[in-house]
Structures are given as C-alpha cells and as structure tokens.
Symmetry: C2
Subunit: 368 residues, 2 copies
C-alpha cells in the first residue's frame, strides 16, 4: 500500500512542476513508508524522485530501519560527528542528480535544521512549497484509515465515559486531565496522544486553547473537555461541555445554540460542496442567535494522522469536499471572563453525505 502511495506521489510530481520532494520525519513520511522516524538533533530526510529508488539520509544508528522499508531505498548514513553530515547530504543529492532542480518541501514540517543540510547538498536547486501536493496524498481516507479513526473515536469516548463519574466539585483541571490521559491509554490509545487534553472550567472555558490549570471546579461552571486518542497513527479529536451543578440560564442557552450549530455543521457535509459551506451552515446558527462575535474561530479542520490537517472548514475555503475526506465540526461560543461552550465531532464524507464517527451524547449534562 505504501508502494502505491509512493507511485501516486511520483506520478503527480510532473503536474506540480516538481522534479522531486524531500521529506523529514512527520506524518507524510510515515504515510509513504509505514515507518516512524523521530524529529531530533540528527537530521533524517527522504528524497523522492520519479523512476529512481528513493534516497534516505540518516544516522548510522538508525540503519536497521532501512531493512524495514516496504520498497528499495538507497541509504546514505552518517556517523556521530556533525562535521561529516553535510557530505552525506551532498552524496544523496548527487545520487538523484538533484542539484539545480525543483525539490518540493513541506514548510509546516521541515525545520531549518534539515533544510540547511539539504541546501548544502544541492545549493543550486529551488525549493518550492509542495504542501498542497503532499497534503493531497492524505486528503481522502481509505477504508483502513477510516476504520483506525473510528477506533480512535471509540477509545476517546470510552475513556471519557470512565472519567465522568469521577468528576467532582473541588477537583482541579489538571487532576481531571491526568485521569483522562490514564483512561485513554487504558482503553488502547497509541503511546503518543494527538494532543494534550484541554480541560477548562469557569472563566478558563472561555479560552478555546486553554491548558489545564490548578483551578478547582465550582458550582455554576461550564466544563469544556477537548480530547482525543490515537490508534495505529490515526487520531480522534472531540469536545463536550458539561454543567457543574446548576448553571445560569444564559449558559444553558448558549449550549443549546452550539448544539444546534454542531448539528447543522454535521448535516452540511457532502461531496461536491466547498468547505466554506460547512463553515457557513454552522456559523449562521450562531450568528442568527446574536452570538456570532463570540464564535471566533473556524468551524473545523481536517483530521487523520494529524490533529490539524487539510481540509479546513473556513468561510474562505472553496476547496470541494470529496468522498473520504475527514474533518471536525466544532462550533463554540466564548463569553470572555465568564464561561464557554464547544461541541466537537468527527465526520467523514461518504458518497452521498457525511458519516459522523462520534456518538457521545451532546445534550448538556449536569455533573459534579
């Protein structure tokens, strides 16, 4: 399967005006090789060009991984002395005749560390942004990928269900987050979570990207939990909002509005419409309610091997949805310094609509 992916990439290079691409450790490299390499102080890159075996540059102590490649690669390994590394990159570029050519890069993944060695190896080459070509490889999920994402959703939901009965007034956000992490692994998440869970109560819940703090839960708080699991490298990314004891009427109201917006967003997806339509369908529910200015982020993002990837559900994104694309629908209303609400689900485009991968109840539940 990785060979088919590699062939799909090399076949697309010409149309993208590229002679090659160079990848460093990250989801695209894993997608194309089935292997995990780590971002570290020792640079690792794979050069891919049509009609030639891919060329790998890596530290000698990673050489056993070459045997695990699903297709033939030519490897240039370097020792522990950084002064010798540049030479391996030069030999790698020469092996593919890449100097002076157009070598696509992935700016979101490639660091200046790898890039400086790559450039030293092929100083006359151009390095255009190949993000859209490379993201295109992973945009449409196949049955196996969707099955892994469903399993990641189930692990996440089961983990939260195990935590909810333990949540009590007086617990800190960090305590809840720690217990959630334990439950995610107990239920079978891969060792690397897609992201550290957000657990935010009261005023902290009005910050969409809060980190769990030492603040204790109080009666009247909204509690936002944004969490996910990873299974075979594919992730889930969900959010639910709870009421801690009795909350005021406006909070109940904004929860109802966000729940409606989430439902509208989940229902909107189908092949052939632009991503913008999912954003508009979701956002218009909140705007009509008068809370539009309190929904200060896009409706969602693609998911798969990364917690954020293409396609993005944004009002200006005219990219058309296609069968197999997977993304989040996550409207929110954030009343600064008071409380916030977000409800997030994961959907995948089917032949005639969108399948929702997550089914944890969305109604406002009173806990604590």
């Amino acid at each position: 399967m990785t060979l088919a992916r590699l062939q799909k990439l090399t076949a697309s290079l010409n149309a993208s005006g590229l002679d090659a691409v160079v990848l460093n450790p990250g989801p695209t490299l894993t997608h194309l090789t089935g292997l995990q390499f780590h971002l570290m102080e020792r640079p690792v890159v794979l050069f891919i060009a049509p009609n030639q075996d891919p060329v790998l540059v890596l530290p000698e102590l990673e050489l056993p991984k070459v045997d695990l490649f699903p297709y033939k690669v030519q490897a240039f390994a370097y020792g522990e002395l950084p002064s010798e590394w540049e030479n391996s990159f030069r030999k790698a570029a020469q092996a593919l005749g890449l100097d002076g050519k157009r070598i696509g890069v992935e700016p979101r993944q490639m660091r200046l560390l790898e890039f400086s060695y790559v450039k030293a190896g092929a100083p006359e080459a151009e390095y255009p942004d190949a993000s859209s070509t490379l993201a295109g490889l992973r945009l449409k999920k196949d049955a196996e990928e969707i099955a892994a994402m469903k399993r990641a959703v189930k692990i996440a939901q089961d983990a939260l269900n195990a935590v909810i009965p333990q949540i009590k007034i007086g617990m800190t956000e960090r305590e809840i987050a720690s217990e959630l992490v334990v439950q995610l692994f107990k239920h079978g998440s891969d060792p690397e979570l897609p992201f550290a869970p957000i657990v935010s109560g009261g005023p902290n819940s009005a910050n969409p990207h809060a980190s769990p703090s030492e603040r204790k839960l109080q009666t009247g708080d909204m509690l936002v939990i944004d969490w996910g699991a990873s299974y075979n490298g594919y992730i889930s990314d969900l959010t639910r909002t709870f009421a801690i004891g009795e909350v005021d009427d406006e909070l109940k109201k904004i929860h109802r509005i966000v729940q409606e917006a989430n439902a509208a967003g989940r229902a909107a997806g189908k092949p052939g419409i632009p991503c913008a339509e999912v954003d508009i369908a979701t956002r218009s529910v909140i705007e009509k309610s008068g809370y539009g200015k309190y929904f200060n982020h896009r409706t969602g993002h693609g998911i798969g091997m990364e917690a954020h990837e293409a396609p993005y559900m944004r009002g200006d994104n005219m990219q058309l949805l296609e069968t197999g694309m997977a993304y989040t629908v996550e409207p929110g209303i954030y009343l600064t310094n008071r409380n916030g609400v977000r409800i997030e689900d994961n959907v995948v485009i089917t032949e005639d609509g969108a399948e929702v991968l997550s089914d944890l109840p969305r109604e406002l539940r009173v806990i604590g």
Copy 2:
C-alpha cells in the same frame, strides 16, 4: 524567574553579534515565558530584542495567553484567513525596527513555515544560527529544575517497578509498552511523555532505536526498556536491560561490560573536564573488552526540557562541564540480529563531581 532569563538572553545578544532572536513554540520559548504554545498550522513567534518589550505574533484565538505572560509583550494577532498573516509579521518586525538587522534563529526548532513569514516581515534581515546562545540559556539547571528532573526520574522508576512483575514470556513488546505508559501517567507524569518508550526484545534489542513491535518475548531474549517521564516540563530518560529466563553466557558477559562502562561514565563527570572525557571513560571499558565496534553511538546527551539537548557526551566535544549541567550516560553493546544491552542513567554535575539522579538496580535481573 522568566524575567531574569529574558534579561540574561538580551544581555548576551550583543556578545553573540545578534540584534534580536525570533523563537517559535518549543522548549526555549517555554523556558523564557513559562507558557506552552503549540506547533500547528498557524505560526506563532516571539521576537526578542534588547531594551524593548518582546513582540508576539499569534492567532487571535490565542490572545488570552497574552495576559498570562510574566512580563509586558506587544502582541500582533491575526485572524483565520492566511492571506492576512504576513501583514502581522511585517508590523511585528517594524515595531522592533528589525529589518536589515541580525535576527538569530533556532534551526532545530524553527520550521520553514514560521521562517517564511518572519522573512516576509523583515526581508532585508540576516538570520544567523543562534543555537549555541539559546542552548546556553538552558545548559545549567537551577535547584528548581533539578528537583523537577528528580521527580521525573522517580515517576519513571516507580512506573517501571509496577510493570516488571507483569512481564511474562509470550507478551508482545507493544503490550509491555502500553502498560508502561499507563503506569507513567498513574504515577504522575505530565500528559506529554518526553518520548514513546522503547521496548525491544531478542533481535530487536540489538537496534538502539527500535519501536515496540508485535514480537512476543521468548526465553533467552534480552529485553531493553528505554523510557522516561515528564514533570513540570522536565524529563527523565532511563534504560534497563533484563534477561527473559536463562540467556547465553555471552549475553551475561556483555551486560556485565555495559554495567561497568555505565559505572565508569557516571563516575567520570565533574566540573572543568570536557564532555569528551565522559565519552572516553565509558567507551574505553567496552573497547578494552573487545566489543568496541558494537557500541555505535555517543555515550549520552544533555537532558532537561528536551530528551536530547546540549551538552552531548561525544568523543569530539571539547565543551567543558559546569555545575548544573545534566546529561545521560548510556553505553550499549548491540550484537546485530542477536541481542543488545543498554544501561542508561541521568546525572547532574555538582560542585565537585556528578550526582546520579537514578538508582534503579542495574544488575542483570531475570524476569518473565
């Protein structure tokens, strides 16, 4: 404390020939701000120049974090449309008068994503490598940092002690790794582990960077476990090797040699000697035994906020050890396609020697 760190950095810029530095999310940014930002598709950077408030560029939905800064910063926030981002970077560079100046970068952390926006904001600037200046900020750990590392060691040791009685012949490497991860979080690790544990048995143990596989433990295997915990952002990184049932005499012998090398390496550290001496003290034990060519990596690396950071215990590194520097001592012998052994501890340089932070037994234990 973060203010003192900031002042230390700005005071050092002049001597480094830099007018400013620009940082993206990562350990250096966290060290200087006490805050966590995430690497994502939305670029976040902090510009730091002497005698001016630092300047932050970030997405609008991260604006609540500005209030959490421990000192005054000037923030330029951008909305959800990428076409508008470049403008915020231009305003940020202008606010500090940085175009045409020397702005240091951290190549190991900065991605082409952030760098392309920074360059668009200050196209006439130079961007020299500021790694050594920035790494220097974090080289010598203070008492609070060492206390956090000790706690991270204790969490890791307690977690492994909870796993050892569960290890049985027939278990897969992945099963052991999963249980270890659960125990790391149960014992209080931060939600993000410093790295996914390595659990490798039999021939896999001869690959220093193996990933846990579906291979089942067999009698006669060596089992290498390389794992760590994180506490308040500071990490531990340990390795122990076990015998699964009765192993052959050569494996017992190489374990004894590695244990001696580890002891020599732990004893070697003291202020004023070059890092190379720690490598030589460790490596010479293995070389004298005749297994030198099977120890194919450096003796260790610095640890702190990252699993790999300066200083590196490498034969060519003449950097002098100073009080407060922390690093690993991790000799190994890897008999390719057979079995491997590694024993890794964490040490910190004191006023007259080196304190070993880890005390889990190192003798070969027979388990399973």
